[in-house]
Subunit: 310 residues, 2 copies
């Protein structure tokens, strides 16, 4: 990999405590830096850099749909341009537009979260999602009082990041280990999670979301996934999370001989276990998803070979 | 508390990685030591020591029924004795009998576990239970090959103790974090857990067991609780686990201001989520439990005041 691209992508790849929307914002910053440094290069070279950077970003977190859509948007916006200044400008415009869309989606979602929080009650939030954080902070800022319960979210412990951020904003937080969900959920009135990807088969999110959703279903607690439509994907991309596995040493540093440590990151959750997907277009149910899946052609550098390939 | 009793009980209280049967064996060793050192004391003093030690053991792990039954058995066996040598002898006999019963139960349970493991398949085991370990090791020693999947069991990580022990015996083990249960269980054919307490309302075990049981029910995987009848309790003792909470610092050492860290240890699991309770009398269902609950009178030092009190 190009050394500069590696420098820019590695921090995003190794960031295991940020959600998909937050990493997409970081990816925008990385691509802007790459473009700014490329103004004296040939257009072919700049296009090559863009393709390599986008592929590296998508491979860094293959379940995170916003990285894919961001990359595809930039590649499509620049593919037919033949001079470097125009190419860089087109990339910048695409990056700006995507950033605006991400921020506007988050704001519209936050407004809806306000209405879903019963005042004075306990609210459960899983893993870390900047969309969930902005929803909770917005509700608090608009005068709604509630306490948030969150779990650690092993192995990366991004639940502690959530707890720290909310407590830092003056909110009361209860934190516990992940397997204690069943014990604390009966006291919660609503649950929220971010997600990495939404498609017709369901949603994909951090491992543990399946258990959370199952427990919420069992206990009759509405669970909402918060996701701008930049997380919606067509069927062929939905299962990209399946083969993604991080090193076992992130879970158990020195396991004894004979112990294989499994460190999967993502899992699918069926739609009918959720109360809905909160998007910038409102709270969607399973049947609403398809119409919001992007119809933008997939750039050849991002196409998937195999059974589902175009 | 008597200093010697504190010395003997503290290691048992602070042992968060051993199961109830294993800690009962350690408690037997502690009580034997206490009796051996008391031979020149008055019978009143020896009885006072026994009461104090037994109360401390029961309070150390209030959900662990074998500690209660062990303590009650020794107190009942000695309560009417008026000279020190006879008292110590009666205590020793009671301790020996309880130890024999624990070991015989474990052996009979292990034999039944053998029949429940499908050869060549993945077996899930939760938390740490010496009864589960002996069942799995016995099955392997009798020539059954299988792989065991276990999770960490935060916050005490006793799942790593299980993994290490099985791997040390040459067995293949897969370990992952607790919230990844939902991801790995579909590949398992059977699941086992120990338990701390069995009563008419259900079973009590390490936090996380409720999620495991729910996930097993959802996925059609038979989950067995392994428990000798020394874990069976009457209704008034069943809910003793509820108020038991360990320091939050064992979960998160330095949480920021505003974050309360919850560290509950035990939770109840309904019977009808289990395939059965494997005991020394066979695999029991909900309706079988009552007849195996000990009818032994509860020593006055161990009676519970309140709504359920005798």
């Amino acid at each position: 990999m190009n050394q500069r691209i590696e420098e820019l992508v590695t921090p995003i790849k190794d960031d295991l405590t940020s959600g998909a929307a937050e990493l997409a914002l970081q990816a925008i910053t990385a691509l802007r830096a790459l473009m700014a440094e490329a103004q004296h290069e040939s257009p072919e070279h700049v296009k090559g850099l863009l393709v390599e950077a986008v592929q590296a970003l998508v491979q860094a977190h293959p379940a995170m749909a916003p990285l894919f859509h961001l990359g595809n948007t930039v590649l499509q916006a620049t593919k037919d341009i033949r001079d470097t200044p125009s190419l860089i400008q087109a990339a910048d415009v695409a990056l700006d537009q995507f950033e605006t869309k991400l921020c506007e989606s988050a704001a519209k979602i936050a407004d809806q979260v306000y209405n879903l929080i019963p005042p004075g009650e306990l609210v459960f939030a899983y893993s870390f999602s900047s969309t969930v954080v902005s929803g909770l902070l917005n509700a608090r800022a608009r005068g709604k009082f509630f306490r948030t319960v969150c779990s650690e979210a092993r192995p990366s412990m991004e639940g502690r990041k959530l707890a720290t951020m909310l407590a830092g904003a003056g909110m009361e937080v209860i934190n516990t280990f992940d397997s204690a969900m069943g014990l604390i959920l009966p006291q919660c009135r609503v649950a929220f999670m971010g997600c990495d990807c939404v498609g017709r088969p369901g949603i994909v999110n951090k491992v543990g979301s399946w258990l959370l959703a199952l427990a919420c279903k069992e206990q009759g607690i509405p669970l909402y996934a918060l996701a701008g439509t930049e997380k919606f994907v067509a069927d062929e991309r939905f299962f990209e999370f399946e083969d993604h596995e991080r090193p076992g040493s992130e879970v158990w540093k020195d396991p004894p001989h004979g112990v294989r440590v499994l460190n999967k990151q993502y899992e699918p959750i069926p739609f009918n276990w959720l109360a809905g997907v909160v998007t910038e277009h409102g709270i969607l149910q399973e049947g609403d998803i398809e119409k919001y899946i992007s119809k933008m052609e997939v750039h050849e550098a991002l196409r998937i070979e195999g059974a589902f390939a175009n």
